[in-house]
Each structure stands twice: as structure tokens, then as C-alpha cells.
Symmetry: C2
Subunit: 159 residues, 2 copies
């Protein structure tokens, strides 16, 4: 029996179920980018780069973390984070201390100035998050948060 031309079949398939707008990795990256855009502008307006803000937030949550622990949390590669932390140190936001238990380790601590900035920025982040949620249909934001926590936990558990 005859069958349709293969190229046409492929194109039809592409039209019938658009790939990109349903592709989970695209939706995640794109939603993350558009949700973060505004706040990242605030971050830069406060003289911080995005990974620097992330480091402040991580340290505020748990002070004295190692560089290699901070790197994945701040979504930055190790050598990059090392340099970012050197700059934050030079600027007086954090302090590096070698760990007496294991002298290969460098533990990062917030300075008073760093802690103040972290608290300030976290307050802004909370405000921005509230605004963001208010744009969404009621409940959708919380639903999304809950789902992301579950999915994120599953994904990071595979290590």
C-alpha cells in the first residue's frame, strides 16, 4: 500500500504536537529565566552579581560552608566560585578561614557587612516573590513551589 511522503509526515507531526512549548527542560529554563529577570536586575542594582547574591543567601542559611559545598548551591562551577569568593572577600562581604579539622578545606563566613547585605537582599527577595505570586492565578504559585520541591528532591537524590 502507498504511504505519505516521509518529510511531510515529519512536518505534520511537528505541527500537531509542538515540541518546544511542551518540552519540560525548555519550560523549566525559560520560566526560571523570566521569573528571575526582574529580581536579578535588583541584585545588580545592589552591586552584586547573581552568584554573589546566591552565596550570600547560602551563607545566611548556613555560615561557614566549604567552597565545594557552596558551588553547586550557587549553581557555579568550582573555579569560578573560588574567584567570586576572592572578590567578595576583597570587598569585605565574606571571610575565608582554613578549616583546622582538614586544612585543605576553606570555610567561608559572612562578615558583619556581608550578613547585613544578605539580610537586606533576602527581605527584597521575599517581597519580590510575593509580588511574583500575586501575578499568578491564586494558588498556582504555591502549587508550583510544592511540586518543584518534590521534583528537585528526587533529582538531586540521584547522586
Amino acid at each position: 500500500m502507498d504511504h505519505p511522503d516521509q518529510t511531510d509526515a515529519l512536518e505534520e507531526a511537528a505541527i500537531e504536537r509542538p515540541f518546544l512549548s511542551n518540552y519540560l527542560l525548555f519550560l523549566l529554563a525559560s520560566t526560571s529565566a523570566s521569573a528571575s529577570e526582574e529580581f536579578h536586575a535588583t541584585v545588580r542594582a545592589n552591586g552584586l552579581r547573581v552568584p554573589e547574591w546566591r552565596v550570600l543567601a547560602c551563607l545566611h542559611e548556613e555560615d561557614g560552608q566549604m567552597v565545594t559545598r557552596l558551588a553547586p548551591l550557587a549553581l557555579a562551577e568550582q573555579s569560578r566560585l573560588t574567584r567570586i569568593i576572592m572578590q567578595m572577600d576583597a570587598r569585605g562581604l565574606v571571610e575565608r578561614r582554613s578549616d583546622p579539622e582538614d586544612r585543605r578545606r576553606v570555610r567561608i563566613y559572612l562578615t558583619d557587612e556581608g550578613r547585613a547585605l544578605a539580610e537586606d537582599m533576602i527581605a527584597r527577595a521575599r517581597d519580590h516573590e510575593a509580588e511574583l505570586l500575586s501575578v499568578l492565578p491564586a494558588g498556582k504559585g504555591e502549587e508550583l513551589r510544592k511540586l518543584l520541591k518534590e521534583v528537585h528532591a528526587k533529582l538531586t537524590a540521584r547522586d
Copy 2:
């Protein structure tokens, strides 16, 4: 009447409701990163950088897009995308044609080689997505996809 020391109050608050692990922008960025990690390795194994793969996917969906339309879709800044496309052109994956309707515009088209690679990578992306979904609790992935589509639509509508 007396009140507790302010620093203690702040610290308690931080302990009681951890900020980061509930912060929507963190959950989005971090989930996106960990979900994409594996597939991005595949992308690089196929000789593509992540934005190049995104360009291929966008063009496969709609060929002949402008640079300024492609840039936000590929999550890359315009001048960066210009250079990425120049490289893809040099490699024979895409072709740049000036738009006769408006000669400021440069429209990007897949070459046959580019289209073949795009189709190949999209197939891999579909497979990877299926694997990813199979790791998650049943239904969670589809739930997430649906929510992200709604939220992403709301967020990008504000322009």
C-alpha cells in the same frame, strides 16, 4: 514590656522557615539546572553548545526566524546569539538571509545538515525527557509541565 533580643529573633526565624529551600526562584533555577545537566552533556557530546541546540530546536519549530526573535527563545543575549549563529553558519548548520521586506533583518534558516541534526537531537531530547519523567513519581512530571506552561504564559504575557 520586654522583648527578645533582635538578633536571636532573626536567627530563630531563619531556622523556623528556611528561606532558600522554599524560595521559588531558587527552586526554579536549581531544578532546571539539575534536570538539564544530563541532557546538556549529550548536547556537548554531539559537538553543540547549549544555545546552539536551542537555536536548532527553535528553527526546527519555525524556520527563518529573526535574530532578535531567536535570542529570547534561546535564552541568549542578542550580541551573543549573533556570534553563535555566525559560528553555526560557518559550520554549515544554518544559513543567514537578509529579509527582502526589511533589510535590517537577518533571517536564519536551517541547512539540510542543520535540519538533520535538529531532528536527531530532538529525538534524543524526547527520549531523555521520557527517562526523566520515569524517575519522578507517577504524574508529577505532567503536573509540573502543565503548571509551568501556565506560569510561563502569565510571566511572558507581561511585556
